[in-house]
């Protein structure tokens, strides 16, 4: 119970970033964001509140839509979804994301699946959290090769939504709309400013000595392990089993 898995820090950070949302949507293969949303819901319920509604795309049990796959977007377009997660093969310093491919377009040398709903949801969902575990110069680039969706829009373009934060396996950044770039908020245990600079292809604002990302409180960790992983397992059985396996052994032996 004393060892905290690095992914548990991510899950708890996501729960904090989501605090206050009424409805959060999560992509089909996003177990960590889904776990963060479910942790927030469990915390709220423990405090006697309702907690957020959670939609997991492609899931049967966490999907209350009855109007096909268009309904999520209709819902988001009306402001009925407060938070969503986006990633990308490349994320740049202005919050632009690329889900299409590396190199020239259309003949990408490395092709990723495609933009999915990003070129809409990034514009209309108020609290978009950019989440990508890989934090390397090839993922965090100065400028993306293809803009699936831009971090910011020109004056006069309808844009109630956009990025609020970028969370990786190494750090948490806040997005500063006015400065049009990321501010380093905190660094996860095991990393320092030099490591983050080395891993990041774009420039970012930071304190001289950045804060360390807060570790989960013992009671939050208890709730996560005793309740939330069971809920996560309904949709992401492999992920929940892996987390349980890895927290059962000392971290030095975990992958």
């Amino acid at each position: 119970m004393t060892d905290i898995h690095p992914r548990e820090i991510l899950i708890c950070t996501i729960a904090k970033l989501l605090d206050g949302v009424r409805h959060v949507a999560v992509g089909a293969s996003s177990p960590i964001p889904a776990s963060g949303a479910m942790l927030l819901r469990a915390l709220k319920q423990q405090a006697g509140e309702t907690g957020p509604r959670i939609s997991i795309l492609g899931s049967v049990e966490h999907n209350f839509f009855t109007n096909g796959s268009a309904e999520l977007f209709d819902c988001a377009g009306q402001g009925r979804i407060d938070a969503f997660f986006l990633g990308g093969g490349q994320i740049d310093g202005q919050g632009n994301i690329n889900l299409v491919g590396a190199g020239e377009y259309p003949q990408s040398q490395v092709r990723w699946p495609g933009s999915f709903g990003s070129a809409y949801l990034y514009y209309v969902v108020p609290r978009v959290i950019l989440f990508r575990e890989e934090h390397t110069p090839r993922a965090m680039v100065e400028k993306v090769d293809f803009i699936s969706a831009p971090g910011l829009s020109d004056e006069g373009v309808y844009r109630p939504g956009g990025p609020i934060a970028l969370l990786t396996s190494k750090a948490l950044f806040r997005f500063d709309k006015d400065r049009r770039g990321f501010d380093l908020q905190s660094v996860h245990p095991g990393y320092d400013l030099a490591a983050i600079k080395e891993a990041t292809g774009f420039k970012f604002a930071h304190d001289e000595t950045p804060a360390q990302t807060a570790l989960p409180d013992p009671q939050v960790l208890k709730l996560l392990r005793e309740r939330v992983y069971d809920e996560v397992a309904e949709t992401y059985p492999d992920f929940a089993a892996q987390m349980r396996r890895e927290i059962a052994q000392p971290l030095s032996h975990a992958s």
Partner: protein, 268 residues
């Protein structure tokens, strides 16, 4: 049954715009082999709103000219190998989109409208590469407020798989309304089903609410387990192992050809 499916495949003429559903909505994998056997090429695939195994296999078989989609992926099994290879060597034309733009285009077609306006997209490279899309200033605003117009998407043929039809040609799609949206927009709709029931699905108010009426359905054929290795909602789960096996095999053109030659795709 196999001859029924071959009969359906005859609607797939060279060069048509073919609408296919997303992997979890009801993909008629049973139709993939009959389409490939018919060997009619130059197809323009419209993925609603993304594509997977079926799209990858049609591309790998050399039948595809254009892919209009928001993504192509094998999900948990990884990237779509023949799609990725075709992108790399430039052998298919790409019309990259975003999911709600595909839905908007189908909805315009459903209403008989020339286009549907849509938020988002402005400033993206998706929009920059789509010469068929237009940006106008919202004519109802006092000025400014650019908005994107998505032209109606009208597939020549749509093919999907559903749990049930009745002998009158009504198809039960439940809450998978995108299947209905595809049929409304398409000139021809071909449906394979797990079972065909005698009683009209419209006779019961509860099933009627989830019915795509026969007026939009060109032909129905029986194909039990017809979505395999994909799953079918409410019926059976996806066979992820098989998707992984395909993903590995199809990394090379030879591996793909081998897989297609040795794998029984019609339900046993």
């Amino acid at each position: 049954m196999a001859s029924d499916l071959r009969g359906l495949a005859k609607y797939v003429e060279p060069g048509i715009r073919l609408g296919l559903p997303v992997d979890y909505a009801g993909v008629s994998m049973a139709m993939t082999r009959p389409i490939i056997e018919r060997n009619t090429g130059n197809l323009h695939l419209i993925c609603v709103p993304t594509g997977g195994l079926q799209v990858d296999q049609l591309i790998g078989s050399g039948l595809v000219r254009t892919v209009e989609t928001s993504a192509v992926t094998l999900g948990e099994a990884g990237g779509a190998p023949r799609f990725n290879a075709a992108v790399k060597d430039g052998s298919i034309k790409l019309m990259d989109a975003t999911c709600p733009a595909i839905h908007a285009g189908l909805m315009a077609a459903q209403k008989g409208s020339p286009f549907m306006p849509m938020r988002g997209l402005i400033g993206s490279d998706i929009l920059r590469h789509r010469k068929d899309w237009r940006v106008i200033d919202n004519p109802l605003a006092d000025g400014g407020d650019p908005v994107v117009l998505i032209p109606a998407i009208k597939p020549d043929v749509t093919i999907f798989h559903a749990p049930m039809a009745d002998r009158f040609g009504n198809v039960w799609v439940g809450r998978r309304r995108e299947l209905a949206a595809m049929a409304y927009a398409s000139a021809i709709t071909l449906v394979t089903v797990e079972r065909i029931v005698d009683e009209s699905l419209l006779a019961n108010e509860i099933t009627a609410a989830g019915v795509l009426p026969a007026i939009y359905v060109t032909e129905v054929a029986l194909a039990p387990k017809g979505a395999r290795p994909y799953g079918l909602w409410g019926e059976y789960p996806a066979d992820t192992q098989e998707l992984v096996r395909y993903a590995r095999a199809a990394r090379t053109a030879e591996g793909f050809a081998d897989y297609m030659a040795t794998t029984q795709m019609e339900p046993a």
